[in-house]
Amino acid sequence: MSERLLPESFHDLEPFAAAWSLATEKERNRKRLASTMTEVQEFYNAILPRMEAVIAYLNQFPLDAMPADAQRLLYLTFSLAEVSTAVELFKQPSVVDGYDAARFVPIHK
């Protein structure tokens, strides 16, 4: 049996946790660009309707002292932010006619 990554009340998002719960913008952006639109859309469709509940749950914890499973859930919301432009604006993983993402280097996490 694999270890549970997310808080229990969000077990429906568990299938996405291993792939999309990533700690840095670089990793999240790389994951987005390496995914097919079907994969991206599947993740987007799963988490978007759960967002109000997710944020309400996460808001009970101080940002700098989250339990590990809540922290992973927070990273999952960051991945929603990351893929949102692909789904809602570009209709493809990368920015249309965009610059090479690998050359635009985040200094932050």
């Binding site: 944020i55 929603l80 932010a81 949102s84 432009t85 604006l89 920015v95 610059y99």
Partner: protein, 423 residues
Amino acid sequence: MAAVATSHINAVSNKKIWHAQYPELGTGPVPIEPYISQEYFALEQERIFRKVWLNVGREEEIPKPGDYLVKDLPACGTSILIVRGKDGRVRAFHNVCSHRSNKLVWNQGGSCQMFACKFHGWTYGLEGQLTFVPDEESFFDLKKGELGLTAVAADVWEGFIFINLDPQPQESLREYLGEIGETLKGYPFATYSATCYAWTTELRANWKILKDAFQEAYHVAFLHKRSIPDSFTSKSNPFAHGVDYKLYPRHRKMAVYGNMEHRPTPVEKMAFQFGSLIIRNDYSSTLPPGVNPTRDPSWALDLNVIFPNFFVDVSDGTYFTYNMWPLAVDRTLWEVRTYYPKAKDAGQRFSQEYSKVIFRDVIMEDCSTLEQTQSVLASGAKTHFVLQDQELLIRHDQKVHEEFVGFYKNKNKRGKKGVTANV
């Protein structure tokens, strides 16, 4: 809440009102030569970058004594070490050892008690003084007191650290910033700077191609039609006309129109719900009077272009900065930073994350154009850019450049035949 009154009356005008306010700038095409000329580039380094105040960071980056950061300026042939002393003061030095001119600090920043040169171990204190020389007895008449690091003028404005490579700066930082500095007085830089997201990239484009792209909004309806289709344009203002423009002797400002009827995407809506974003419908007038000076309710942000290479673009709840560092006539190191107040909870943090992703992706659209432009700029197909009323800031920038560089003035003196500067 600001009353919805004479909303964006300037922005819906197509009467070319902005150039009319600055007739000395003319309205003709402007030359491309400054973007491709090696000679012009060399003059810029000598007469601009070695003469004026340059932003190199923020105080939050070096909060404690011993904290330092390094700013390499390859086009000026130097590297600058910026360090907070034991007395809390921020100082800057050429990052060059007094012995045989090795680069003293090789990393980009950190915290320390002293700086030791990797080459022969010469050691300097936080105030730049030479404190230790290995095998000192073997030197001849070594005057350690005179062999400290070479100081560079440094000063701080609103938390932004500036340096000046001129050994005798012609004016103080405050004098240099002048009126545009005053307009930003009271903007909550300290609060908003709690969180910084930063990116860096090396672009194959002249540094002024970058500057130009970010001091006009005409391109938004076209280049950004997918990413921000209705944030800065609307039916009444389809070409993102600015709500206000103001030119200073060297610097300049544009108040950018924001469409308050903007229809957010589903995730953007979430981000609205949990935190603040640039385009918001509850625009408050708590910002200082110099920001959105006409108090236009259809306002998104102010561009503040500080000569030569620093943008401080302020909004309600967030601001962002650009620093363009020329590396060669066709290469630029670009630093992009967005700043937010400290997120109080996960919801606000998510909102910031969305905000920075959309910001970054919009910039990815810009970056492509910058390199594509540069790739054909030297073709000779065109000798001039054609500018419209809303590209006033670009025209003004060229004029200020020429005032510092004197390229065309000298050219005309030498009686050379060539393009005539309309600057």
